[in-house]
Symmetry: C2
Subunit: 349 residues, 2 copies
């Protein structure tokens, strides 16, 4: 995907799609197959990180371990709750000291398929992402040193790192913590959504409204930004392309990717949200200010497409989006290594 | 168990036990079998609550659902973390608005075997207990009305309650929420500790230090309060029986069971802590002020038995206590019902 797709390109991508919604099933499917890919049922390979069973198991423990935070209260799962679509269903997350985070927590589900991580794409992959919240003062408020001291204080962790990163002279590192979490997160994929089953030929699994919604999603141009395996998660676009929404939805203080690139044209530019399991991850947008999926669709219509979608079109597109909910990951809750006298005590009450 | 056992009774119970530690293995076992019971491997029956699969499954979802809290952040598992011995390994819990709770969170593991719940025994069973933290302003800060509105807003919960409490005209109630959580918690038992295997005849599974510790635990009188299946969790006793520990460990503002009974003799009286999995649940005591298990044993020696235990005795008793760690429950992380437009929004950021 081209991460510097411009407004013009977006609109042109919409233009080249067939207009109208009366598309025969096979035509609709062949058109959709050019735009989307099913979520695979196999864990994907990850660049620079062998997704071994040992790393996944270690990463599962780390993902749920609140001792990665300074307070001992907050784990990755606190904000990326695997029972709630992989996020926290809050406008913005609650972090260390009950501080309010600046942006809505993105889902961890299928995040391995995103081009980059965070709303502004400032982390190139999940291993880089995993280091962010652990250190962020408003999130877990820890430090790499504290994390490593914590992990090295527990023999069961030391052993698990030694096995997962065998051959390394010093396996318990902040980088390897991040790699283990990335390996676990690579398993958090949601295959077999109804849309994917339909893509693969099960015609009856989508109803007419959902198919109409899919056709509209492609015809109206949504697909220009929201495509690929994650129906988004690739490319950076201004919010809005055509018309900026109000400050309630687009707080003026958060200029998005501008903070990463320092380029004026990246004012209010964000990564296109991945729409897999979108039904499970309200509230919406980087501000988390919209709770209703239909409203979010309507806002996208006006801000990104410059079009006031009819109620019927909004309802159909929303119905299609709800067909993107896949099988949620089955995860056994990990039994964590026990703290020792050397484990740093919780701080920050 | 006699909940009004007096100081005199405690000391006499110690007297009748055989003195010295040189006890033959069979004698030690037969003596221990009079005092302790293994944790069963079968889920126990619960008074007034049929522990059906449907209730357990529903209770599992509720136990992990942060939407039972006003903020949408805190679930039962936040403070009773099933990966960390069933508590939060904090001095006292962090609750709504980052408030500090008044007492150390007791473990939920094997709690079904306790005589009553909370440090002061103010809840007679787990279904009564479950209603407390949900409403406590410093914990989850919700209300029964908010909880019922939340649960009724999600069709999957309504269906699960209808099945779990079939035949009831209005199955989605605050009481039934508590009963479902109690049913799930009844499954959170930890059988097959090394001590239990030894009790059942596997002589070699405890080493000599651990057996010496067990003998000391009985001979010195610890067993007078810490006995039965949970090695505690029954009976109320002054802290200390003989000598009050300092205010760092026994904060003068918390008079324990006095707040429940309003009886002067219940000043600083607490339920004897259940010692199953005690190795996993530091820090210790209702104040959570002692992090080291050996120190906790020494404090108990001086405050409850009036005896300065030798370092060797403390080490042996601690070794025995670590043999009380059982098999931790395997729990699949639940996929929670999705919120709807009628679900109350998180409050209290």
């Amino acid at each position: 995907m081209n991460r510097f797709l411009t407004t013009t390109t977006v609109l042109c991508a919409a233009c080249v799609l067939t207009a109208g919604t009366a598309i025969a099933a096979d035509d609709l499917r062949s058109q959709a197959k050019e735009m989307f890919e099913p979520v695979p049922s196999m864990v994907p390979a990850v660049a620079g990180n062998a997704v071994t069973g040992e790393r996944v198991e270690l990463g599962r423990a780390l993902f749920f371990d609140p001792r990665l935070s300074k307070s001992g209260l907050i784990s990755c799962n606190t904000c990326h709750n695997l029972g709630m679509g992989g996020d926290d269903n809050l406008e913005t997350s609650i972090g260390h000291g009950w501080q309010k985070g600046p942006r809505n927590a993105p889902t961890v589900l299928n995040a391995v398929f995103n081009e980059a991580q965070f709303w502004d794409g400032r982390a190139e992959d999940l291993k880089t992402q995993a280091k962010g919240p652990v250190q962020a003062g408003v999130e877990m408020a820890s430090t790499p040193e504290r994390v490593v001291t914590t992990l090295k204080s527990m023999p069961a962790y030391v052993e698990a790192f030694s096995v997962a990163f065998s051959g390394e002279p010093d396996p318990v590192t902040f980088d390897n913590m991040a790699k283990a979490i990335e390996a676990f997160e690579a398993t958090l994929i949601t295959p077999a959504s109804r849309f994917d089953q339909w893509l693969e030929g099960n015609d009856a699994i989508l109803d007419e409204t959902e198919k109409t919604g899919l056709a509209l999603f492609m015809d109206k141009g949504c697909v220009a930004c929201h495509n690929g395996v994650n129906v988004g998660g690739h490319g950076y676009y201004p919010f809005g392309v055509v018309e900026q929404p109000g400050a309630d939805i687009l707080p003026p203080g958060d200029k998005g990717r501008f903070a990463v690139t320092k380029t004026a044209t990246d004012d209010y530019v964000f990564r296109a949200g991945p729409l897999r399991n979108i039904e499970l991850t309200a509230p919406y947008f980087h501000s988390g200010m919209v709770w209703d999926l239909e409203q979010a669709v309507a806002v996208m219509g006006s801000s990104q497409l410059g079009e006031t979608l009819s109620d019927g079109d909004v309802a159909a597109i929303t119905a299609f989006l709800k067909a993107l909910t896949g099988e949620q990951p089955k995860v056994e809750y990990p039994i964590l290594p026990v703290s020792t006298a050397d484990t740093p005590r919780p701080e920050g009450m």
